[in-house]
Every structure is written in C-alpha cells, then in structure tokens.
C-alpha cells in the first residue's frame, strides 16, 4: 500500500503549501493519512483509544516539524517514522515486557522454517481458514517483540518497500530482510499454537532438489 507516484507528487505539493502556512493543505495531508496512521498505531498498541491519541500526537508533531522537513524521504515515510516512534514510546511507558531478539544467524529458527506448513495453514484450505486466522492475528501480533511487530505491520499492512522500511526503522536493508524473516516465522509459530498444532515433523532438508 506504499504510495504511488501521483500520491507522492500530491504530497510534495501539499507539504510545500503547508510549509508556507496553508492550513487547508495540512488538513488534506491529515485526512489522507489519518486512517493509515491510526491503523499502524492500533497494530502496535491494540488499544483503540491509545491508537487515536498516538495518531493525533503524530500529526501535531508533523505540523510542528514540517518547517524543517526537507523531503529527503517521502512525507508518508517520515510520518510513519514519527508514528512508530510514538507507538514505541507509549509501549515502553507502559513497561510491557520486551524480548531480546536475534537479528540474524538464529539457526534454530531457520531450521523451524523448514517445517512444512500443515494443511491447516497452507494449501487450498488456507482461504477457508483465513477467517479463523484473522481472529487470531492481533493476538499473535501482540506476542511479538516491538521490533518484529513494527516491521510486520509496516510491510504486511502498509506495504512499505524494504528501502522504506530501512528509513522508517533506521536499520540497514540487510537487517530488514533478516528481521522480517524472523518476524514472519514467529507469527507462524504463534498461529500454529493457536490452532492447536503440534510442531510438525521436520521436512527432509534435501527436499526439492
């Protein structure tokens, strides 16, 4: 759901106008991105009220910082970065337990990824199962660490490219790839648990050759 060229061009014009003090231009920017920012905050916090507060604060800060926004990144990438930082701050304030995570080189996880998806989670049955999965998605998401939750939301829900993820999260592209891989695996593991699946038998690592 990353912005297209037209939307980016519109953003630039609106940002320039807003920087000159055009209130209507700023209003349009808020209206354009409010739901996506709320959705991002909702995914991070799971609390609708807190998500609304974070989204509101995001746009207040966007307005405040707008004079110094030089357009090195796109407006929405910049806005998401503010929203993500505010979401993380809010979570840290609530002192939720944080997990230490391995950025890369976790052999056990790569091995786990070799588990073949069960019929319940893949294959033709997956469409029918999606409604049940949907009900569990937010729950599973909440069990992930902040880093995994944020990258999954930005990629899967907001459709940010790896380049954009790198900018919003302030990490290298290699780390984007690694973190996303582990985040998806952990999500799969959670969903398997919710579906009451035991760990599937290991597949033959030579399979597919």
């Amino acid at each position: 759901m990353s912005e297209g060229p037209k939307e980016a061009g519109d953003d630039r014009a609106l940002v320039k106008a807003a920087q000159r003090g055009d209130g209507q231009a700023f209003r349009k920017l808020v209206e354009r991105y409010q739901r996506r920012v709320v959705q991002l905050a909702l995914g991070m916090t799971r609390d609708p009220d807190e998500a609304m507060d974070i989204a509101q604060e995001t746009f207040v800060r966007v307005h405040r910082y707008l004079p110094s926004f030089k357009g090195d990144s796109s407006f929405f990438t910049w806005t998401y970065r503010i929203a993500m930082n505010l979401s993380l701050d809010a979570q840290r304030r609530r002192a939720r337990s944080e997990r230490v995570e391995l950025e890369e080189g976790d052999e056990a996880e790569i091995e786990a990824a070799m588990d073949p998806p069960s019929a319940a989670l893949a294959g033709p049955q997956r469409q029918a199962l999606n409604s049940e999965l949907r009900g569990r998605m937010e729950e599973a998401l909440a069990t992930l660490s902040e880093n995994h939750r944020s990258i999954l939301l930005l990629r899967e829900v907001e459709g940010l490219s790896y380049e954009e993820l790198s900018k919003v999260l302030g990490i290298r592209k290699g780390t984007v790839m690694s973190r996303l891989f582990h985040a998806r695996l952990k999500m799969q593991k959670q969903l398997r648990e919710y579906l009451g699946e035991d760990a599937p038998e290991k597949s033959d690592p030579e399979e597919g050759e």
Partner: protein, 169 residues
Amino acid sequence: MKRCAEVVPLLGPLLDGALPDDDGLWVADHLRGCSSCRDRQALIAAQGAALREALAARSARLDLSGFTDRVLARVAAQPDHASRTPVWGREMWWAHKGALSAAGGLLAAACMALAVFLAPNRPDDDSGPLADNSPQVEEVDFGTRDGAVLQLPAQTTVIWMSDDRGIPQ
C-alpha cells in the same frame, strides 16, 4: 536445483519483490519443482493477507469523524514561537546530535587547552611543565561512546562527545 534450506529465507523477499533478478530466477526455478516451498510461500502470503484484513476491519470500526478538527485545534493552541524555534533546535539536535556533540566536545577541550596555555602563571621559559607536556586532545572511540581525552601535565580529562550508544533505538 538449490536446496530448500537455501531458498526458505528468500521466499519472503521474493514475494515482496525485494530479491535481485539473478536470485529471483533460481528461487523461482526451485519453486517450480518444490511443492513444499510453494506452500511455505503461500503461507507467508496468506499470513500477510490475514493480518491486513484483520487490522483493516478493526480500524474501519473506529470513528475518525472529527479527528482532523481535533488535530487542527491542538495545532492552533500551540503558540507559534514556541512551536517553531525550539522544535527547530530539537530537530537539529536529533538530526546532527553526533556531529554537534563532537564539535561541542572538541570546542570545550580547545577552550580548556587555551585557558591553560594562557594562564597568568605560565612559566616564561620553555622549561616549564607545559612546554614539554603541552595539552593533548585526542578524539577517541570508546566503543559505545565517542569522547575526547584532554591530557594535561597534572591530569587527564575525558570529555564525552556523544550519548551512550549501548541501547539501540
């Protein structure tokens, strides 16, 4: 054909359109002959779609009417001078905090060195303690922090030029 173990970490990037063409070709070639990896990739896609739908459904239920007005009201309530000048300062600080810290640290060190050098009780001849041991300032990477070491004849002072980077953001 490549082994599944080599392909699995690349299934997501392939789906995301983030794999270079040359890697994409052999991963796609593997997928044609491996139903397990096709299922793995389908699972990544299904999981992403389910997450998108779940959050879209939840956020769609939120009433955003008046949201923009509330934002604009808060913006209007902020004094203009207070909202711009300090923010510019904060923005500059966060954007260039490393460089500003380093510059500040070196400036402080230089001032201290100059103060010592120009002190009234500085010996006139070259045999004084500072002549042979003039102040030295070195920028040093302490691992998690940057700092400068100011060495004087009687003391060594460390001037920190950056915050502790031990906790990644």
